[in-house]
């Protein structure tokens, strides 16, 4: 072992020596550094600006095609046409295990839309100046979006809060982590709630949290990997690639997307322990290099119980399904609120693993549910027989979701007030039947008036918060009985006793041999004194 430790120290020293260069922050990674334009010096941004739309008009004065380009993006349309499944996904059309659906909750949900003016009639929403350039490009960190996607916080047409538009506009640059994070870190009701691998700890991450984004290291931003030709952000959960056989991304030779580990690291990324490369075809990089979710100290939500919504007291019963197929935090502490029901959060949770070929199907609004079993809000595809599938880590988010037991559909829930006069929203009435009725009416789907609850589950593939190599999984985490790969079937894995009968027979044979030897040896010893007497 001494030699082994010593050789590791040498390896680390060598690695430090050779990789010292790239570990320093590169100026090109810092937003707006190295740009040929200093937006501070642009007279067009001197203002004054009364609204976000006015800023956008100033942007479009130079970036003439930006609005048209933006309106073709998923960030704008919230609609995704899935070619191979021949379905339309996108926020507008899918459920989730959190608030359910954006339908009937657009006032609040659009605070994460890259446009303004959702209070306006539909035909004016698509005007060029409704595009919000600032939310992605401003660098002051002071810009926030509120209801209807507006940057002004209003109460009954009175502006309570509004950004310093000139300062914000002059700060623009390439999107930083905080820009993307302003929505993607807070989805699903709060910081870290939704994804398990995206939360505010990634704004200024340390090396142990994310080896690429480390502020004093490589300092990658989201768009370093999610490169965005024509503002189309690459990498989508609606149509993923579970592996990237194209390997290292070379302009003109590959797909131009950098949203796979292989697009920088290639498909033989391990140089010191080459054997690890034999895993690349069947095991996603994330499986070992994202050893846990919510590693930055911010908790993620693992269970949402809508049954107690509107009630003053929460549920404290730990659902068994969480233990079997979800994530159970070390310390169980439920959080309850009248508008949300009961929630369970946790950090540093062990992911769940499954074969995944990148294809995800989503339950459509108003889709008939299977009569029994948990409702798959999304469904992942892949198996050992599918060569494009690899073993991926997932967050499995469980919920007790309201549904219509008569129509056998999930229901849309009008959780948040459209305005001060809206009495139907759950946050106002505390009556789930009433808010669901309003939600279903807004969605245009039939509702029987009955409410039941169904277990629902949603898969979130984990890919962010990439740990440094010394924190990646050790072999034994999976190569053992009761390891992380329990439940991942179809693959022979050394260390997991894949054939218990064989081992039982084998051990039996060894035992019989030992018994035979013992008996024989005992007889020899017992017989020995007689020999001594005789001689």
């Amino acid at each position: 072992m001494g030699f082994w430790c010593f050789s590791r120290v040498i390896l680390i020293l060598v690695a430090v020596f050779f990789f010292q260069g790239p570990l320093h922050a590169s100026d090109s990674m810092i937003p707006s550094k190295g740009s040929t334009t200093h937006h501070e010096k642009l007279q067009a941004l001197n203002g004054p600006f009364a609204t976000g739309q006015e800023v956008t008009r100033a942007c479009l004065g130079c970036h003439t095609e930006a609005a048209a380009i933006i309106r073709k993006t998923l960030h704008w349309t919230w609609e995704y046409e899935h070619a191979s499944l021949n379905k339309v996904f996108g926020k507008k059309h899918v459920f989730n295990t959190f608030c359910g659906s954006v339908v009937s909750n657009m006032r609040s949900c659009t605070s994460c839309h890259i446009g303004y003016g959702w209070q306006d009639p539909e035909n004016t929403r698509v005007q060029d100046d409704q595009v919000d350039c600032l939310v992605c490009h401003e660098q002051t960190g002071t810009y926030k979006k509120y209801n209807f996607g507006l940057a002004e916080l209003k109460f009954k047409d009175k502006v309570l809060k509004k950004p310093d538009y000139v300062a914000v506009a002059k700060s623009v640059g390439r999107p930083g982590r905080a820009n993307c994070g302003s929505c993607h870190f807070y989805g699903g009701s709060g910081d870290g709630a939704k994804h398990g691998d995206l939360d505010s700890s990634l704004i200024k991450p340390v090396r142990a949290l994310d080896v690429h984004m480390q502020e004093n290291g490589l300092n990658f931003t989201c768009v370093t990997c999610h490169n965005a030709p024509d503002h189309q952000i690459s990498g989508s959960r609606y149509d993923m690639k579970a592996q990237d056989p194209l390997g290292i991304d070379r302009p003109g030779r590959t797909d131009g997307s950098r949203t796979s580990c292989a697009s920088c690291h290639g498909n033989e990324p391990h140089h010191t322990i080459v054997k690890l490369n034999d895993h690349v075809d069947r095991v996603a990089c994330q499986t070992c290099h994202v050893p846990a979710m919510a590693r930055g100290g911010v908790e993620t939500m693992v269970f949402w119980d809508w049954r107690t919504a509107g009630q003053n007291k929460g549920n404290t019963e730990v659902p068994g399904i969480l233990q079997r197929e979800g994530h159970l935090p070390e310390k169980i502490s439920f959080r309850h609120s009248r508008t949300h029901g009961t929630l369970l959060w946790g950090a540093n949770l062990v992911p769940r693993y499954a074969w995944f070929n990148g294809k995800v199907d989503f339950l459509s609004l108003n889709e008939k549910l299977a009569p029994t079993g948990p409702v798959g809000i999304n469904r992942i595809f892949g198996s050992v027989a599918d060569s494009s599938a690899r073993i991926w880590p997932f967050k499995k988010m469980w919920a007790m979701l309201p549904y219509d037991p008569v129509n056998q559909t999930l229901v849309t829930n009008h959780t948040i007030q459209d305005g001060p006069e809206d009495k139907e929203a759950l946050e106002q009435s505390g009556d789930l039947k009433r808010s669901v009725a309003a939600g279903m009416k807004a969605a245009g789907f039939p509702f029987s008036g009955e409410i039941g609850f169904r277990e629902g589950v949603m898969y979130f593939p984990l890919t962010h918060m990439v740990a440094p190599r010394e924190q990646s999984l050790t072999c034994r985490e999976c190569h053992r009985n009761g390891g992380r790969m329990d439940g991942v079937e179809g693959v022979y894995m050394p260390g997991r006793q894949n054939n218990p009968a064989l081992h039982a027979i084998g051990k039996g044979c060894v035992l019989l041999t030992l018994i035979g030897i013992s008996v024989h040896a005992t007889l020899r010893i017992v017989m020995r004194p007689r020999r001594r007497l005789r001689t």
């Binding site: 054997k275 084998g506 060894v510």
Partner: protein, 347 residues
């Protein structure tokens, strides 16, 4: 019975044996870590060392196979049933009686008793090759698709490898135990370290061929004797006579005298009735040419008077033609040679 040390295991054999033992033990330990049965070592460490040890063992085996082919020592592993029952009986019963010794007398030519032969044969034609083939396949799993092996076969390949590993463990345990069943208990271990085995003093030098002169005018008898000492049957006969003969056959006394003048004959089988001589006279004449060579006499008929006279004159044995068998003949050869040897040594 006195003993003397004889070199049974050459330096290469001892290097091979202990090297192989160490490697197999290391492979068992690391291998059962890889299967998940043992947990003292890190998985990565055991998996990589398992591959390294296996590679070294394959190299060692290559040398060893070459060595066995070149030296002809591979014949030591040809299975045999000779004395099988006696050996089984010895291990199951006789061993507990200190007065009984091992029924199989080892010689340089036959180092393994029939049980050992079978055990080693199973090891070398079944356990080793299966472990080797499945192990190499296992290690090369990531290239299976290049030759079209379905990846689901890994369950079978790995299963067979593990099954054979258990067989290997059983063999290893038994082998180590058996190594301590010598008399004294550590005799076999000592032999495998030093290379020397204490063998019972036999006057026969098993390392060389013996020159046998057959003086027999009846070609049928001569051919029959030649057949007994030759080919397949000789191997079986070795338990009686662990040496090999080079036969010189003559039909006349005259010719025999010529051969004897040349010298170098170790044993003479002499028919008393020859075309140019008969009876005691034949014996005396031959003896006159070969005073130091043991002589076995064959006669047509039983003749007690002739027999006692011939033996009195120094013949080792008097064999009657119609009673002759391979077993009788070979035993007579052995006794004759040993008696003669002792006589010459003054014991």
């Amino acid at each position: 019975m006195t003993h003397h040390p004889e070199l049974f295991f050459t330096r290469f054999e001892r290097f091979w044996h202990w090297g192989q033992a160490a490697l197999i033990l290391a492979l068992i330990v690391t291998g059962f870590h890889v299967t998940g049965l043992l947990h003292w070592l890190d998985y990565e460490l055991s998996a990589s060392w398992h591959r390294i040890f296996a590679t070294i063992l394959i190299a060692l085996w290559s040398f060893t196979i070459f060595w066995h082919l070149i030296t002809g020592e591979w014949r030591q592993y040809i299975p045999s049933t000779e004395k099988m029952l006696e050996v089984v009986h010895y291990y199951s019963k006789g061993m507990f009686d200190p007065h009984l010794s091992h029924p199989f007398k080892k010689t340089r030519r036959r180092k393994h008793n029939p049980l050992q032969r079978i055990a080693y044969l199973i090891l070398t034609v079944m356990i080793y090759p299966t472990l080797l083939v499945t192990g190499v396949l296992f290690a090369e799993y990531n290239r299976w698709h290049l030759v079209g092996i379905p990846s689901a076969w890994l369950f079978g390949v790995a299963g067979v490898h593990v099954a054979m590993a258990y067989a290997m463990v059983c063999f290893f345990l038994l082998h180590v135990y058996m190594a301590f069943t010598g008399r004294p208990a550590t005799a076999a271990i000592k032999a495998m370290i030093t290379g020397f085995v204490e063998v019972e003093d036999t006057e026969l030098d098993t390392s060389r061929d013996y020159q046998l002169l057959v003086v027999e005018d009846d070609p049928v008898i001569a051919l029959m004797i030649q057949g007994w000492l030759d080919g397949e049957e000789v191997r079986e006969g070795e338990s009686i006579l662990p040496i090999k003969f080079v036969i010189t056959h003559v039909e006349l006394l005259q010719e025999a005298e010529k051969v004897l003048k040349h010298g170098g004959i170790d044993l003479i089988l002499l028919d008393l009735s020859l075309p140019d001589s008969d009876g005691l006279e034949t014996f005396l004449k031959v003896r006159g040419h070969a005073v130091d060579v043991p002589i076995l006499v064959i006669n047509e008929l039983e003749n007690e008077e002739l027999q006692s006279r011939v033996v009195h004159e120094g013949a080792q044995d008097f064999l009657v033609r119609k009673n002759l068998s391979r077993r009788i003949l070979l035993r007579a050869f052995r006794f004759a040679l040993e008696r003669h040897y002792r006589l010459m040594q003054g014991r």
